[in-house]
Amino acid sequence: MKRKWHHPEAELESGKRVYWRSYDELQDTPEFREWLEREFPRGAAEVSGSEADENTRRSFLKYMGASASLAGLGLAGCRRPDQFIIPFNKHVEEQIPGRPLYYSSARPVAEGCIPLVVTTYEGRPTKVEGNRLHPEWKGGSDVFTQASILDLYDPDRSAAFRKEGEVLGADRFLEEFEKGFLEPFRAAKGAKSALLVGASTSPTRDRLISELFKVSPGLQVFEYEPLLSLARRQADARLWGDGVSAVPVIDKADRILALDADFLGLDPQGESSNARWAARRSPGKAMARLYVVEPAFTLTGGVADHRMRLASSQVIKFAVLLAEQLGLASQVAPLAAKLGLARELIDAGWVKECAADLQSKKGRSLVLVGSRQPVEVHQIAGLINQALGAIQGASGPLQLVRHGRKPLPGIESLAAAIRSGAVENLVVTTPSDPLYDAPASAKWGESVAKLKSLVHLGVRHNATGRRATWHIPGAHYLESWGDVRSATGVLSIVQPMIQPLFGGWSELHLLLKLFPVPAASATAAAGGGAPAIAEDPGYTAVRDTFATLVKGDKELAWGLALRDGFSKGSKNPLAVPAAAPAALGFEASALADFPGPDAIEVVLTPSSHVWDGRFINNSWLQEVPDPISKLTWDNAALMSLATADALGVTHDGQLISIKGADGVSVEVPAFRLPGQADFTIQVELGYGQEAAGRVGEGTGFNVYPLLRKEGALICTGAKVERTGGKYALAPTAIHWSMEGRAIVRENTAAAYEEFVVKGHGEDWKNFSYNQGMDGHIPPNIPLYEGPDYFRPNKDQQGAPLGGRFTVDENHQWGMTIDLNTCIGCNACTIACQAENNIPVVGKEQVINGREMHWIRMDRYFSSPREKAGMTAQRVYVPEGRGRPAHDDDTVEMLTQPVACVHCEYAPCETVCPVNATVHSDDGLNSMAYNRCIGTRYCANNCPYKARRFNYFDYNKRRTSDFYLGPLAPAEGLGMTSLKLQKNPNVTVRMRGVIEKCTYCVQRLQSAKIDAKAKARDSRDVMVPTGSVTTACQDACPSRAISFGNLRDAKDPIVKLKEDPRNYDLLKYIGTRPRTSYLARVRNPNPKMPGAEHVGTGSFGGH
């Protein structure tokens, strides 16, 4: 019988907040209690369902007999199998077997790029990190970038050249493509032909397209990706002129108002915004303040100091009200006249105080608008920003960058051109999949049917690829040459790390093919005398472009650009705004009424898993829990409790049908989340694809039918009803729960001022250190003697550090995670997965609670505790209503990544019967996988629930094959390419083994080894300060994670550990964790309505 030890409950304090992860936890339902009282969730340890059917006793005997006979066979061949070492014939430059090589590159994204450093082992890229040298980014990346490495090795990637669906060899395809498409195209000089490209800032692509126009004057070029902000481009053009875009520089702003703009999350704006925002959140120094108005929680809303939930379609009314407060009433008058109920329904006090606060920091205030908002909102925000003085050349928080690119017409114009017969041949290179994601207005299916030929270049053989006359497998960005400019114009070269695995072409390669072939090289192009290893034609094109963009020694500049990952001095010039903005012709599109039960607003958002659908077959992204809803493998219709009540939704996963204003209907499971505007439903795009690949097949629901017009991501007037069906979702919000203890801590900037800045003595402990039980820690009487890693024993003079224990005097590792800057984006989780060969387990296993992520991103909601009717630690539950009385208007969100905290007195170590988990001399709680026998005692005894168990051979099998017997082939079809991604310095774990965070021990060891190898016969073996980083630390876009050597006085970690915000998780149980956390600080504006509730921290603390 499992002993249940009830932690003492801390006193409750009025005016503080309660922290919870799900409605079940808030209500303390029996299901929730059952879930959390087991060391592993129900089902995780038991055979059930299909498993029981497969593994009957009979089949077990059968397998046993079979394996016994096999063992007999095996003994006959007792010889050791030969293994070969195959060195290169000729040495490869720079290559040292066993040592990684790092190259700079960049991942192109729609409006810029993420500059990268790519780790390669013997020619295969295994990991990407942000480029710390880049002047605008200085390191960090995002979740999609981290996961993009898996796309490279995706066995379901398009690997074949196809003509009308039939697979042709590359040579034969080229021959037929030349005759069937390229020659007619060149002969017609591009007449009746069009190019549909994705958004890109590549100078080479721009150059090639403009040169292509010269030789093929008939060619037309269009651009489509479903999540581009056409409205922002339009507004920028109107306000600041053609070829100019407004780029926010977040660290220059003291006050930020985000209008439906998730600029820290899925709607990135500017460059390195997370890091810049984080830099301005140091308590004690002038902290920036963030106001957010949004329909549903986003990562940005989660870190806001003040947040208003407001339907997306109503944000324009907020903008008008704000403009009025800021003295722009005359400019917005045409819209103001139509505000309707907004003056009553939008909290006027909120708008007024927010406006006053923005006004008070004139020149340092910034208003950001989300991509999906209509052009009017962008324009109003532009006016406000100008009125607030945000635009001051290079010193203001909003910079007008003159990039000079001309906007291209979109897919609607293209479709019209096709239907009118003006376009008969189409070349599609956009990374999106128009047959799946084009808006209804384009009538894309119908239009495509009119085409004579459709050429598709894509990394995925998606719906468009399947429909195409000519499908060309695309090259991944890690396989091809390219170039890209960041949002402010810094030029980076995209370097290939590996030859195209499946022989794909880059976009530049295809564009070059469209050019007329010079007579001399015509035979070469036709395949005659092709060299053994094809040179990427993009290389020459990129170098040619580069030569036109730099001055001076071009060879040197090229070398430097490749080495550093950017070209110095390539930033775009800033534009000077007109003194008075041009008169704004508001189209005054009818302002939608507030949504209600009969006219629901549906907001289509980019997916945190699959973006617009392009990552559908990326299992890392599919499985990483959504930062807010914690859903994996699916999308769902997120709604508030009030909306759910009105629609009759009583349980998550009940299917609802959403009927758009013009009758199109989609079916999606409902999922209830706090903090959402009522009668607004938010659904992620990109799911429910038919041509998805083996990972993405059957995941989620397609809501693109609701996209009626290009960029129309806010759909009003939808009718929603329950269909009666149910769908099993796989949320992880209550997995690995830590039972409502003061795990996550926050307080306000005012409290920081009071206790830390002005406090005396131990006052600082009142800020966060003593929250929860930590004010009342009983004396710790350890049963076992352990080493002290930092102080020599006083009784033994001259004895080595650690007494009779072996302790490394040079290295003791430690980590801090700053909850103040962590926004919960999951980049660390995926980076850890890439670095440490962590497998995915599939939806079924996630439902069983078996996900393997070493870093779990805990997401907490908090709400102010009500004074009356409280149960211990729980908020008041009104009689009979069956749901908690938390208030959607005051709910706040916090995120906290938790991995193994490397306790100095680790409870897991004492219970392992085989010493598979022991302490290392540098303070790591290490796992020897080859010793582990899988008792799982350690996981049982871990108070942080940081240990994960391999219930199956997750690394060897596909998610569908786990339940096959032991004699079934261990490797699914085509898993070989995925092996190439594995980090060679980390053991790939097998079934029956516990694993957990190791502090990236492989990096620590190689740093220590390098230091020793360098020391040779000297005693100087300490790892140089700051030279070793963990994967999560590298990936974090806001630098929330710090890691270092606690024995190195110069290491910043030493100072961070002394920060007054520093606290340990579950300090009172005396485990002395090496990972500690820095409490979050909110910076509410005391004049705002409801400010007294913001960020007041949890109970205890006195």
Partner: protein
């Protein structure tokens, strides 16, 4: 006893007989009552089960002891000496010709992996020397474009030393901190065909990690596989060490004496090793995470 009838075992009858016989017979004649017909087990069989058990015990013990002794890496992998595609003779190259190990294993000081040389490395000399040797056919096939059998395919050397996939060994840290090639690979310079010389088990690794003094030697002797502590010159060793560490010879000798060395006569590996361990601060890791990650 005299006069008594000799005690013979009575034939088992329906009312007598020894216990075993009775049981056996009863077993076979159950239900018939006619026991005479089933008496085909001679008496000696009565102890047979015990004897068999004893024999099994002996054999099993013997087998277990044999397996425990011989089915270990010390016996199963030591001496593994596969045929290589080119019968490369280390005793000729590293022994007679005196080539340094690092001429071919060029990255051993920088990488975890002591690389097997590229074919180009062999070709540096063998494009000139013994170009027509039968033994070098795979090399010519890989490198010599004028050769009729040229394939350009790299040479497939058979791997001899192999650790578990879960063990991460690093050459560079060992050779840079005073552990010679010979400590783990034996006298390669005397091997015509290389074999595995040491068991390279975890216990064997730990023996040295716990007592590094048994292996440390001056850094300029790492690739000298014939070096012997006993042949080193005491004075010059101490002089060099004193120079390198900035101490006096007398102090070093005093420390050695404290540790029980006589500091007279020929040097020993122990003395050299313990001096170097202290001078260089060598603390080989003994934590699991040092090699398993």
């Amino acid at each position: 006893m005299i006069g008594e009838a000799p005690k013979v075992h009575p034939r088992p009858g329906p009312h007598g007989g020894n216990k075993h016989g009775k049981t056996l017979v009863k077993f076979f004649t159950r239900g018939t009552g006619d026991w005479d017909m089933g008496n085909f087990f001679p008496r000696w069989t009565n102890l047979l089960p015990l004897k068999i058990l004893f024999a099994i015990f002996l054999v099993a013990t013997g087998l277990a002891a044999a397996v425990a002794t011989y089915w270990t890496k010390g016996y199963s992998v030591v001496g593994y000496q596969p045929d290589q595609p080119i019968p490369f003779d280390h005793s000729l190259h590293a022994g007679q010709l005196g080539m340094d190990c690092r001429y071919c294993h060029s990255h051993v000081e920088r990488s975890s992996h002591a690389n097997v040389p590229n074919a180009q490395t062999c070709w540096n000399c063998h494009s000139q020397i013994r170009t027509n040797s039968e033994k070098l056919v795979p090399l010519r096939a890989a490198m010599d474009e004028s050769y009729a059998g040229y394939t350009g395919k790299p040479i497939e050397w058979v791997r001899i030393h192999k650790l578990g996939d879960y063990a991460y060994f690093n050459h560079s840290v060992h050779v840079n901190r005073g552990v010679s090639c010979v400590s783990c690979h034996g006298k390669i310079n005397e091997m015509k065909v290389v074999w595995q010389d040491k068991s390279q088990t975890m216990g064997w690794c730990l023996d040295c990690h716990r007592n590094p003094a048994t292996a440390l030697r001056p850094l300029d002797q790492i690739t000298n596989l014939n070096w012997r502590a006993e042949e080193s010159d005491r004075e010059s060793f101490y002089a060099a060490l004193a120079h390198q560490t900035g101490t006096k010879v007398a102090d070093l000798e005093k420390r050695a004496q404290e540790r029980g060395f006589e500091t007279k006569g020929p040097l020993t590996q122990k003395e050299i090793g313990s001096q170097l361990k202290e001078a260089w601060g060598v603390h080989p890791p003994e934590s699991c995470s040092a090699c398993h990650r």
